[in-house]
Amino acid sequence: MQPDFWNNPMVVSAMRLRYRRGSPGLTSSLYLMALVGLGGVLWYYAHRFPMPVGRVFLIAILGIQFALSGLIAMSCVAGSIIGEVTNRTLDFQRIVSLSPREILMGKLIGEPAISYFLAISTVPLAIFCWLWGAAPLWDVAWFYLNLATFTLLCASLGLINTYVANPQAAGKKSSGAGMTIIIFVVTIQFISLRSGGVLDSAWFDTIIGLLTPIDSLRELARGDAWQAEIELWGVGVPSLLAAPLAQMALAGWFVATMSRRLKNPLDPPVSKRGFYGALLVFDLLSAGICYSQGLLGVGLEQIASQFALAHLIATLLLLLGTVPNQAALKSWVWRFRGQQSWIRDSCLAGRAEVTMLLPVACLLGGLVLVVGLVAPTVAGNLPNGLGGLARPMGEIWLVTSLLLLALGMTHQMFVALMEKGGVLFYLLLVAAANALPPLTASLVENVRPQGALLGLDGLALSLSPIVFFVTRAAPSSRGATDPSLLSVAAVGLLMFSFFAFRRWLRRETVGVSDKLRQMGV
């Protein structure tokens, strides 16, 4: 990859078009004038603020700039990619001498050009705020570094798109319905977890601290931005330091992922190696957060449940980008099957099934749970060892693994059997599996009280994966649900999806062998 981004053709062309359409100098000047006006208003009402007005002004400038830069970067990059795909100009880009990574880096840097000009135009005001005693110069410089990495992260989010033009939808803009459904389902799940108290605020503080400047700005308002910290294994890391690293790493991961997509749309966006790497990093972060919770007095069973749930959610989310679709699986059957051992293919080959990847994900999570969470907690807080905790811990991990295997295999089965809409069916199944049992239990309790007396509500509740984790991570008077029914259901789903998928794969393999024989190969 060429390091000189400014000679990247995508950057050069984007800048040329921006300069021709309108002067960025004029836009930046108007923006600067608006900010100066805001500064005047703040100065007028200075007596109403509990902190120096210079600091209020700096926080306002940074807050506005972070929001503007992020939005502009994401919308410009997404708009450019969608335009290239729907107008079918991307085909010519895909066959030039630039690598897909160079093309995407060019988009990432060139398209949000106006956000750089706006950010640069605020620098004199930020220096003025420093002179006004708002914050040390060092802090201001770190905030601007954060601004740059945050803009890149938002721009890289704009890259997440389909890179294949739909012949039926030529000229039409993508509705993004698929992505909206995924975001909706994930958000609903997170909100329910948050409101249920399953994922403690430490999780959200960490996510916000690593991905946004909100925590640092809040602490700046209190006097010292470096007080915004992320607690990992009991060690506080300033958010101002950790955020640029996390944001760059995530942006790099998105670029790598979408480069694979651009290079060959048949390859799943996330390679199997990328899946293991991302899961390991996420599990380590989770273990660090959970351990810190343990130091605050939260029980080991609770934090292990939180870790298991986070691992399950992360694995299922990563699988959305890793599980090969029907076309990719067929391509593997035609072109790659049998060249390496099935185990190696299933563990590492991008287009091969994920049958072996799932147990590896379970093992990886189990390993991090033991090494990163249980062992240090036992050594530090439980000098008498695990004692009576071994059984519930084993139970949690067994159910987590069974759920992971069952849901992962079901995902694979749906996308293999259905040319289109497999992921949607799978997501609906996951949502239904989580939501229907509590709804049923509620109905039994309220409409048929005699059913509740027979324990039918408890039975229904115990079928919900989310309730299994909720009752363990945030203990209530009701007590933890019985895991047996959920385990049996998971095993049943696993067996069904495994055999249905294998049947499909066998049929495909036989069909391909026949065709190859006919072709004389």
């Binding site: 100009t89 085909d91 066959i95 030039v96 072709m519 190969v521």
Partner: protein, 308 residues
């Protein structure tokens, strides 16, 4: 230069290309003929590394297209049947953008852009915005973009479809020029009469299968072993008819419009002998013509006009 083996392409249950094997030598202008849906565009897109085939191997200039597409990209120039350009760019900016994309050094960029514009007669529109160009001009600009990095192989999918008659003549000359420069060209077109003028070889594709391929003359001969011979003589045609009836290769000898026609089974190579025999026998020959089918007739004859 291009080598294709056991190529198969499936779109769901549709087989777009089936067990296609083909070799195109350097310097050839290969015309791909077939009805809509025969698989021409699919084949060209596979060669351009834009589509991955279901099965088979494809090599361009010795490089495996599937294994190392990035290495193949500088070797190929591609022009699709339906394409869009960056509407807000100027003509020279568009070419400059792709020149940079092909890593052409700054010192050569401007010269190559001027040469490409001159080649497609667009130099007077150098500073025009692309959205102001007519369809034919866009077609030429896209063609200039395909030639810019001096590729060894040109993949042209219906390149002349938007051109006016003068543009088509220019385009034909351009292809001949490229052939003279030793470039390999794979071109698909529906205008078969034009294809015979500049193609050295052709391939007839139907329902994803290559039903005939090779040099134009060879295909004509292979698909048309019988020749329709028309001979006009001065005066009565009886002596000529008698002579022809004696020839075992001549069949269905008949008089039509004062000309003698027959089916000649002896092949083209025996015709000079027949001509000499007629002259030495004192037959006053005015004209001696072979009414061979042209590419269009041959295609219409052998094609079932089926799509995949």
């Amino acid at each position: 230069m291009i080598r294709i083996e056991h190529l198969r392409m499936e779109y769901g249950k549709t087989v777009a290309l089936e067990n296609l094997c083909l070799e195109i030598d350097q310097g050839e202008v290969f015309g791909l003929i077939g009805p809509n849906g025969a698989g021409k565009t699919t084949l060209i897109r596979i060669l351009a590394t834009l589509l991955e085939p279901t099965y088979g191997s494809v090599q361009v200039d010795g490089t495996d297209v599937l294994a190392d597409p990035l290495k193949v990209h500088p070797t190929i120039g591609y022009m699709s049947d339906f394409f869009s350009l960056y509407e807000n760019m100027l003509v020279w900016e568009y070419l400059d953008h792709f020149a940079r994309c092909y890593r052409i050094a700054r010192s050569r960029r401007e010269r190559l852009i001027d040469e490409a514009l001159q080649l497609v007669s667009l130099q007077i529109r150098r500073d025009a915005e692309i959205q102001e160009l007519s369809r034919g001009m866009r077609q030429r600009l896209c063609f200039a973009k395909s030639l810019l990095h001096e590729p060894k192989v040109l993949l042209l999918d219906e390149p002349a479809s938007g051109l006016d008659p003068a543009g088509r003549v220019e385009f034909r000359e351009l292809i001949k020029q490229l052939r003279a420069m030793g470039r390999t060209v794979l071109i698909s077109s529906h205008i078969l009469s034009e294809m015979t003028e500049f193609c050295t070889s052709i391939g007839i594709l139907e329902t994803g299968k290559l039903i005939a391929s090779g040099r134009v003359a060879d295909i004509l001969q292979r698909l048309q072993p019988e020749l329709q011979l028309t001979i006009e003589v001065q005066g009565p045609s009886d002596p000529l008819e008698a002579l022809l009836n004696k020839e075992p290769a001549a069949e269905q000898v008949r008089l039509e419009d004062q000309r003698l026609r027959c089916v000649w089974n002896g092949g083209r190579e025996t015709l000079p002998k027949l001509h000499a025999a007629l002259v030495s026998a004192g037959v006053p020959v005015i004209s001696f013509a072979v009414d061979g089918d042209n590419l269009e007739d041959i295609y219409m004859r052998i094609s079932g006009h089926q799509t995949s």
